[in-house]
C-alpha cells in the first residue's frame, strides 16, 4: 500500500491515524519524545518519513523546533504524552501569542487510569489556559480527520492547536479512510517576525489580540461538525465529550426513553449551543474522559436547584480513572449485565524487570552496599523508566518516582538538608531529557550525592528508541558539566561484577561530594531484537 493513496481504508492505531493525518496535511517535520501512550505516532512517521521525523532531547526542545519550522513557513507536528506537556509548558503557553506562520499541531496523549503514567492530568486545561483550540477525537477516523482540520485551523488563526487523545483511542486499532494528501508548504519566512519578540510591549499587544481572537474560536465551535446536538426534546440531557461518547453509545439503546444528546469534539465549548440545549433541563448527565473539565464549569457555584447533575463531581461517575461501558451504565441507572463471578484472591502479576535486565544487576550491587557495608539510614531516589520497577518486588532498591529527571534534584535537596548518604538513580535517556540541569545545581554547591546512571543505551520502556547520543559520550558530558573526573566511574552492569561494582559504589558513596557512576550494558530486549533482525537478514 502506498501511503499517498487516498480514499482507501487502512487498519491503524489511533496514534497512527493522527500521525497519518499530519502526514497528509503536508507536514515537513515531526518532533517528539517517547512516552506511553503517545509513542506509536512518532514510530509510524519514522517508518513513513524517516528524514522528517525527529526524536528530541525532551518535549520542550521538540516544541521549539516545531515552532521554528512554522516561522519559516512549514507545517510541523509535535507528539508527547500528557506529562510531557508539563516539560514543554514554557514554549507552549507563549506560542499562543506569537502568531504562527505555518500550522503547528500538538498531539497530546492523556492516560486516564494511569496505565503507564505517574498522574492522570487532563490536557484540556492546558489548552484552555493557553487560549488555544483543542480537538478531542472519539475514534481513529476522527483522529485522522481532526488532525487534518487542526492544521488548517492553526494556520488560519495563527495559533497552535491541540489534538487530545486518550489511551483508549491512542491504542485502539480500526479501519480509517484517508483523503487526498496535501503537499508540503513552500519555505517562506514569516513576513511578520516581530510578533515573535515577546518582550512586554509586544507581548501585551499579542495577548490582547489572542483574547480578541477567542470570539473566532467560539464561532467555529458553533459551526463545526464536531460539536452537535442529536435530539433536544427530552428534559433528560446527556452531554458527552470526545471518546466518552463510546461508553454512552454502548448503553443508550437500553434506556427506556431516549434522552437529548449533545456531543463536543472541539473546544472552546460553544456556550450558546450549551445554554440552548440545557434551557429546559431537569437531569443532566455529563460524561467526559479525564477530569470534570466541562462539568465543573456547567455547574458553577451558584445554586441550580432545578437541575439534577450526574457526572464525575456528583459521584455517580467515578471521580478517577478511565470511563468504561460499565461505569457509564451504572451512572445511567441501568441493571448490570449477567456475568460470571470473579475469583477472589487470585495471585497478582505486577510488571517486573525482564529476566537478564542490566538494571537488576545494578540494583543488586546497590542493595549489597547498603546491606553489607553501610547499615545506616540512606536515601535512594529514583526516576522514570523501566528501572522504576526496581521500587517493587524483591529489589525494593529505589524510594521515589516523581517526574522525569527528579531523582537528582531530590537527592540534592536531601543532602542540602544534611542527610547522607543520598543516591540518585536515573536512566541514560532520562538523564539526557532533564537530568543535566539538576546535575549542574549539585555541582554548583558540591552536594554530597552519588548519581548512578543506568545506561542501557536505549529508551527501554517505550520500546527501545535510540538515544540521541552514543553511550560513550555520557562520561564526557558529566565531566564537561564539572564533576571531578576522578569521581566519574564506569561499571559493567553484569551479575559477574556484582561484588566489584558494589565496592566501587561504596567508595563513591563515601566521597563527600558529587560522584557519578555509569553502569553500562545494552537493554536485553534491544539486544534480543537486534539478534533476531540479524538472523533474519542472514537467512
Amino acid at each position: 500500500m502506498s501511503l499517498e493513496q487516498t480514499n482507501i481504508s487502512v487498519s491503524l492505531l489511533g496514534n497512527e491515524a493522527a500521525a497519518l493525518g499530519a502526514h497528509h496535511a503536508g507536514i515537513s517535520g515531526a518532533y517528539g519524545y517517547p512516552g506511553t501512550p503517545s509513542t506509536e505516532a512518532m514510530e509510524y512517521l519514522h517508518e513513513v518519513t524517516p528524514h522528517q521525523t525527529h526524536w528530541c532531547t525532551n518535549e520542550k526542545t521538540a516544541l521549539e523546533a516545531a515552532l521554528g519550522m512554522s516561522l519559516v513557513g512549514r507545517r510541523a507536528l509535535v507528539v508527547m504524552k500528557h506529562v510531557g506537556l508539563n516539560v514543554a509548558a514554557d514554549p507552549f503557553m507563549s506560542s499562543a501569542l506569537v502568531g504562527l506562520h505555518a500550522g503547528v499541531v500538538l498531539l497530546i496523549a492523556d492516560d486516564p487510569g494511569m496505565h503507564s503514567s505517574q498522574n492522570e492530568q487532563d490536557s484540556r486545561f492546558y489548552a484552555e489556559m493557553a487560549k488555544i483550540p483543542c480537538f478531542e477525537p472519539a475514534n481513529n477516523q476522527e483522529a485522522y480527520d481532526m488532525t487534518r482540520s487542526a492544521f488548517e485551523f492553526s494556520e488560519a488563526h495563527g495559533v497552535p492547536v491541540m489534538v487530545r487523545l486518550v489511551t483508549r483511542v491512542a491504542h485502539t486499532r480500526e479501519l480509517v479512510k484517508t483523503q487526498v494528501a496535501e503537499s508540503e508548504k513552500p519555505l517562506q519566512k514569516s513576513k511578520n517576525p516581530e510578533s515573535w519578540v515577546l518582550m512586554p510591549t509586544i507581548a501585551r499587544k499579542r495577548w490582547h489580540l489572542l483574547l480578541e481572537r477567542q470570539a473566532d474560536l467560539e464561532k467555529f465551535a458553533h459551526q463545526t461538525k464536531w460539536n452537535w446536538v442529536s435530539d433536544k426534546a427530552s428534559e433528560v440531557k446527556v452531554i458527552t465529550t470526545g471518546s466518552a461518547i463510546n461508553s454512552y453509545l454502548e448503553n443508550c439503546d437500553d434506556l427506556e426513553t431516549a434522552p437529548s444528546h449533545l456531543h463536543l469534539g472541539f473546544y472552546p465549548w460553544p456556550e450558546r449551543m450549551l445554554r440552548d440545549f440545557l434551557k429546559d433541563a431537569c437531569t443532566v448527565y455529563v460524561f467526559e474522559e479525564g477530569q470534570p473539565f466541562l462539568e465543573k464549569s456547567l455547574r458553577g457555584i451558584l445554586p441550580q436547584d432545578n437541575i439534577r447533575w450526574i457526572g464525575r463531581l456528583s459521584g455517580e461517575v467515578p471521580r478517577e480513572g478511565e470511563l468504561t461501558p460499565d461505569s457509564v451504565r451504572r451512572a445511567l441507572g441501568l441493571n448490570e449485565n449477567e456475568s460470571l463471578s470473579p475469583l477472589p484472591d487470585l495471585a497478582a502479576r505486577p510488571p517486573q524487570l525482564c529476566p537478564g535486565c542490566p538494571h537488576t544487576d545494578s540494583y543488586r550491587s546497590l542493595n549489597k552496599v547498603f546491606n553489607d557495608f553501610l547499615d545506616a539510614p540512606h536515601l535512594v531516589t529514583g526516576d522514570v523508566g523501566c528501572y522504576t520497577l526496581g521500587a517493587l518486588g524483591s529489589l525494593k532498591a529505589i524510594e521515589t518516582c516523581l517526574c522525569m529527571g527528579a531523582s537528582i534534584g531530590l537527592a540534592k535537596g536531601a543532602s542540602d538538608a544534611g542527610f547522607s548518604p543520598a543516591v540518585a538513580v536515573i536512566g541514560d535517556g532520562t538523564f539526557l531529557h532533564t537530568g543535566i540541569p539538576p546535575l549542574l545545581d549539585a555541582i554548583a554547591t558540591n552536594a554530597n550525592i552519588t548519581i548512578l546512571i543506568l545506561d542501557n543505551q536505549v529508551t527501554g520502556m517505550t520500546g527501545g528508541q535510540p538515544q540521541l547520543l552514543p553511550s560513550s559520550r555520557l562520561k564526557e558530558i558529566v565531566i564537561g558539566c564539572g564533576v571531578d573526573p576522578q569521581h566519574v566511574r564506569s561499571l559493567q552492569a553484569h551479575r559477574k561484577f556484582e561484588e566489584q561494582n558494589a565496592q566501587i559504589m561504596k567508595e563513591e558513596i563515601a566521597h563527600p561530594g558529587v560522584s557519578v557512576l555509569i553502569a553500562v550494558r545494552e537493554c536485553i530486549e534491544t539486544a534480543k531484537r537486534k539478534k533476531r533482525t540479524e538472523a533474519q537478514e542472514n537467512l
Partner: protein, 190 residues
Amino acid sequence: MKFDILFSGVGGQGVLSLAAVIAEAALDEGLYVKQSEVHGMSQRGGAVVATLRVSDRPIASALIPKGRASLLISVDPLESLRYLQYLNSESLLVTSVAPFNNIPDYPDIDQLLAQIRALPHSLLVEADLLAREAGSTRAANVVLVGAAAHKIPLREKSFHHAIAKLFGRKGQGVVEMNLRAFSLGQRAAK
C-alpha cells in the same frame, strides 16, 4: 452480528498476535473490527488483557462490557481466570495449559486447571505441544486461535487468508506451519 473476544496473558507472550489473526479474518469478510492493545509498563512481564470486537455494524467502545464477551482466549491458565466477570454462562474460555511462571506465588497448576474445568464452558489446549508438532513452539498462539475458531462466527477460509496475509512476509514455509498449527488447534477442540 456482534462478537466480542477477550485475550489475556503475560506481557511479552504475544497476546496481540492472537487478536491480529482473528481481526484480519474479520476484515477479510468485510466486517467492522475494533481492537484494543496494551503498550507501556504492563508489557514488562505483567498481566495483560486485550480486546477484539467484531460486528456487521459500527462499534462504539473498544472495551467489552461485563458479561458480554463470548470468548476468552488465554496464553496462560492463571491469567485466563482473571477476567471472568467479562464472561457469561454461555461464553467459552480457551486457554493454553502451560503455565508462564514468573511470580513467586503461582498457584498449583492442577488446582488451577480444575478451577477452569469447573466453568460452564472451557477448553484446555496443549498449545505448546501441538505447536511443536506443527513445526515450532512459536505457533502456539495460532493453535489457540484454531481451538477457538468453532465458536467465532467467521469462515474457516477467512482464517486461512488471514494467516497467509500475516505470515506471508516470512515465507511460504512459515505460512504452512501456521496453517498446520491452526488445524491442529481445530482438531483439539473436537
